[in-house]
Subunit: 174 residues, 2 copies
DNA sequence: TATTGTTATACTCTATAACTATA
DNA sequence: TATAGTTATAGAGTATAACAATA
């Protein structure tokens, strides 16, 4: 497929050129903080900044620890909830995990293609699918939970046992 | 642009059909947990699950609170760090915030187009750009910080003052 | 050779809208 | 008419690779 029309920042960097022109009339700045001296400013007082950094760190460790079975955090959450609630519908699953219904469709396509989940017809409502794990899905879930538990164990020493418990408790407010 | 070739799940849902066939040989499940009764299973013991939910909640509130000036969390962090470290380079900024260098280029294009930031030539290294806020950028940053502070204030009662402090402290471990 | 800023590309995720089949 | 599952599409964000200019 030819790149027809670039979606993001289509043109040749006019803004960059403009900055250069503008800069020509000013004295170039000389100070550039050394890498270690960069100031986070007011970000230091924002929960969201640290929440994002922490979440990324945790997910990256999770992905690494489960790379041998190729299960992402989102896939893990889907397998766990199906495993604990056999027969639930896609809408219920999506609502529980905060995943878009449309997104879940494609995740389930993939998990089904890998032989881990099934969509069975619901007995009492022709619109719904009753979700369940296959035998292979149950096995994969058990392995995933073991690896995820190892991942979780790396977080405790990183935080200290007490702060770990405090965090787990405090974050339930959301 | 014609949809040439679908990237995700190209074919007509074969997996779905397959599931239907498979299901035909089995008794349909009857139990579907009521929405309130859905069990999170082992997710209840995973920091990452709650970290992600919290981060999404916080960002959504942040976006809402700053919607009047149309500044995203990522844009806010960029403005704050440039404001606190005038003259720093794009690589330093990207490294500090954990943003890809390539991604930052497009963010700065946009911020520059909005007249909030500038890229000046660095005096001692021809490869680098020295980043700074324009006057308008400084004004926008001040407004953004005021609105972000309001956002932050909604988090404290939600958590309680003590747990808020504990969280902010504990998450610095990452 | 290595680094800075940049372009290009692909993939993931989010967000909607619209369609179908059922209710 | 409303809901469940689905398709399609656009937009962010992430991840890489490659390139030109500069060191």
């Amino acid at each position: 497929m030819p790149p027809a029309k670039r979606i993001l920042q289509p043109g040749p960097d006019q803004s960059r050129r403009k900055a250069g022109v503008r800069a020509a009339g000013k004295a170039p700045l000389k100070v550039a903080p050394s890498p270690s001296a960069i100031d986070l400013g007011v970000l230091n007082q924002h929960l969201g900044y640290f929440a994002r950094r922490m979440q990324i760190w945790i997910f990256q460790d999770f992905i690494k620890k489960l790379s041998s079975i190729d299960i992402s955090p989102a896939q893990f959450s889907v397998l766990v909830v199906i495993g604990a609630n056999e027969g639930l519908s896609q809408a219920e699953l999506a609502g529980t995990l905060g995943i878009e219904r449309a997104r879940l469709v494609r995740m389930l396509h993939l998990l089904e293609k890998r032989g881990l989940t099934q969509r069975l017809p619901s007995s009492d409502d022709g619109r719904r699918h009753a979700l369940r794990l296959t035998r292979a899905g149950q096995t994969t879930l058990r392995r995933a939970q073991a690896l995820a538990a190892q991942h979780e164990e790396t977080l405790k020493p990183k935080l200290g046992a007490e702060r770990y418990r405090l965090l787990l408790d405090a974050m339930r407010a959301f």
